[in-house]
Symmetry: C4
Subunit: 286 residues, 4 copies
């Protein structure tokens, strides 16, 4: 039923912690990946390509896409078949109403991330599709998530609506940055900004869980303006921590790359030279 989100898998602490953890892990993973590639590009002259050759980059992308696809699929199955799931039935003719719409909506969100993973897999294994398509699908998946959340909120308490509205800043922000990457692919700042917003989204999912379903049991007053103001400020702090996290990880990876390059002289550089000018380069914008 509409006013009883508790029926859904998501309407609980775990239901927010789970996607939160995925986005946190994804954000950290992306930060490490883009930092590594950026460091490799900057230190090309001292032979960093052996750390991330085109082939290695491609393999990484394929692994990542497969994982995204796999977990989206698992997520869809969980929403459908766990405990109170609708088990693929959409309409309950007995009660004359839609069946478990919340679960269906979450499954739809997973579906779009699954599609993005699937397309990314195709883009990086074959030559069939233009490279930038993976970013466009990512933008669409984020946009779709935000779109469904936006119309998700009708009839909830003020605090609940406010918490999810703040989430939407991170979601739509991520969608816009991914769309901008269509035109500015390989711009490290846009990539790190997207990582930051993904981390923010992840940690905010945890915060929503803590506020709406407090493990300690002490309920928050959903109508207190002070709570609203605190939540808003709290969002800024999450953003600051996300930036800090991305910054620290970026520095660690940069240092590690430079340290390792200094230790081992680039003996095999000549062999890799050709792949530098590989026409199917990662930076090519189609």
């Amino acid at each position: 039923m509409f006013s009883n989100p508790g029926v859904s898998v998501m309407g609980s602490f775990k239901g927010h912690a789970l996607p939160g953890s995925f986005f946190l892990l994804g954000g950290l993973w992306w930060t490490a990946k883009y930092s590594l590639w950026h460091a490799a590009r900057r230190n090309k002259n001292i032979g960093s390509t052996r750390l991330s050759s085109r082939a290695a980059q491609r393999r990484l992308e394929i692994v990542e896409s497969s994982l995204v696809l796999f977990f989206s699929f698992v997520g869809m199955l969980a929403e459908q078949f766990l405990a109170d799931g609708p088990k693929l039935r959409l309409y309950d003719s007995a009660e004359n109403q839609w069946k478990d719409l919340m679960n269906w909506q979450h499954a739809t969100m997973y579906l779009f991330f699954g599609l993005a993973g699937c397309v990314s897999l195709i883009v990086h294994t074959t030559e069939a599709a233009p490279l930038a398509l993976d970013r466009m699908m990512m933008a669409i998946a984020f946009f779709n998530e935000g779109f469904l959340f936006l119309y998700h909120l009708h009839g909830r308490t003020m605090l609940d609506v406010h918490l999810h509205m703040l989430l939407l800043y991170a979601v739509f922000g991520g969608a816009v940055v991914a769309f901008l990457e269509l035109f500015y692919r390989g711009n490290i700042l846009l990539e790190l900004l997207r990582c930051t917003l993904t981390l923010l989204q992840g940690s905010w999912f945890w915060q929503i869980g803590y506020v709406l379903y407090p493990p300690s049991g002490a309920q928050w007053d959903p109508k207190d303006h002070n709570n609203m103001m605190f939540i808003t400020m709290c969002y800024s702090w999450h953003l600051a921590f996300a930036m800090l996290g991305v910054g620290v990880l970026y520095c660690l990876v940069s240092c590690a790359v430079r340290t390792r390059l200094k230790k081992t002289p680039p003996v095999e550089m000549g062999l890799l030279k050709r792949s530098d000018k590989d026409p199917e380069s990662e930076d090519e914008v189609v």
Copy 2:
């Protein structure tokens, strides 16, 4: 009268299915066209230009523009002169009110698509106007459609408003993408995104028809929140199907082009070489 849209041609199942079919056909047509041209561009070295020489491209554009112009004209006539049309009278002095404003609004939408077709015809038959003008007129036609729909909705039921608001995402999305193509002409991803949004618009028109004028006769409850939530999710599914459709068609066309190129060796390539560097190239942004 305002609260009685049933008077208009559009206020019926057929009235939504008709434009829906046009947008569906248009979306499929564009997908095939842009896929073909993209495949031709990518396989230039193996002689694909014979599949889409500049002259052939130009001829295709002229045919397309003429069809758009023709159907817009037919649409305007239909809105004016069929059954309950206003027959070009704008004000009914007997009843002291505007006459069939709905029909006039729909005719105005057709007018702008007609103008876009007309300008596209001029752009592709003469040298008078800059090439990118066709995209700008298309953006204006989409924007005008969305603009009229936006102020169309006053005083309807919640479900009706929601259905048409969702339509506006596709319409304004199409307008923005067409406007971006002013600056990034020939970007296959933007072209396919526009195709996707056009397909989405078309299939959503059908959906609106089904929901507001159900052929089965069972009315939807316009105030049930569950219906609103289902409709929102349904929109995501339409988007997924539109992406699937565009993806499949793109792959089919790409494969067909490559298959045909392999069978017939490019004997006449030398003859076409000059047109490759034709100054009036399709990709030229003026």
Copy 3:
């Protein structure tokens, strides 16, 4: 007083027809200017530069800027010193309230157009400022106009608000296009779009005058929804006419340029060749 706009110079038919006429003339003038320059650029090889050499372009800009400056100044004086103007007094201590705020607001709008004219004069007479500054000041002047109108509308009737909201589309649209020209200077499509929106603004001012202060005397019912819908559609028609006007004028100028070029052979071409590569070229984006 707030609810009595009739006190102001603008709160009358003439008060809307006057700025309307200015914008109409300005829009036509710009269309002719940009069409001429575009035609001159396109036909460079057949000696069109004698029609619009750099020096002539600069002189034209100076004349235009001076006129804008002059009329803005006259407008400010008129708002201040005509009949019911505040005569530079801002606060009426007798009645303990602001004096003729409407006139002050209109004078502020003129002020910004005056500043834009003044800066444009400086840009085109000296080398002191970057060229693109004229477009930025124009964008700011349009934006300021829209901004003041936006907060102008409180407490009026629905029809009045709707009429002015529609005006804002043209005003903010013009501001955005002028801002885009910072980055895409000399793009004929953006220039013509700005001309179209300026014409639309001008003709819509006339329409507002006709609706709110009908010369025939028959008042419009400000609460009738049919009137709102008709007005919206009417706006589309104004846009269509503005586009038509710009299109026709563009074609006329293009034809005139080509005809004149064919008649008189370009004897003096060699003399002008050097100014073609003039470093202070009009297209230079700083």
Copy 4:
């Protein structure tokens, strides 16, 4: 407490005049800096590089960043430990409510400017981070300020809300311009636009202080529409004065540079030539 902003340091005339003065000084400083660098770039051929060599530019940026960092830190301390500050306690378990949320929010705003200063320091002292990162952090700091103000306003009087909403135009405008500079770094017009908006923000803080906490003691009627309209117009005037200020300062700096260059012939030019093509150039966009 929520409806009693008087508890906070900011809820007073001084509390608005202080940040206002910072932004005014910052805006003037930036205007001078960017004008100097632009003049130096334009007059390169007559040896202006001795006025702003790369090393000098870098030193200036380091000093600026340190100052920003220092004052943000002082601001945070002041908000926390002065008179009624929360002294780092967030929750008052005695009264069962959040403690001095206003001060915490202001401290959070300072925190983000502090982060921006810190990152800018790292960017300009080391090679670790891409150059454009300083602009992105600045955009985020402005955005965060606007975001917190946006949710700051609930439950205040109409005049109070209106005054702060107008402030948000300048704040978010500054954020957008700083973000655009990611892609158009070194564009003097965007830089001066940002300076203008910063000056506007500074002077508007003073205006807010004057209106809400009038030193003369005569309270403004917070519900009078005439006051709202006057305030809106007043904002335009502040903008005009900010533009005037930036314009005058830009001209002064330009003239001073040219005068000084004419007096002292560029004897040491040869020595500086190499730094012109310095790979770590300020204009490099990473």
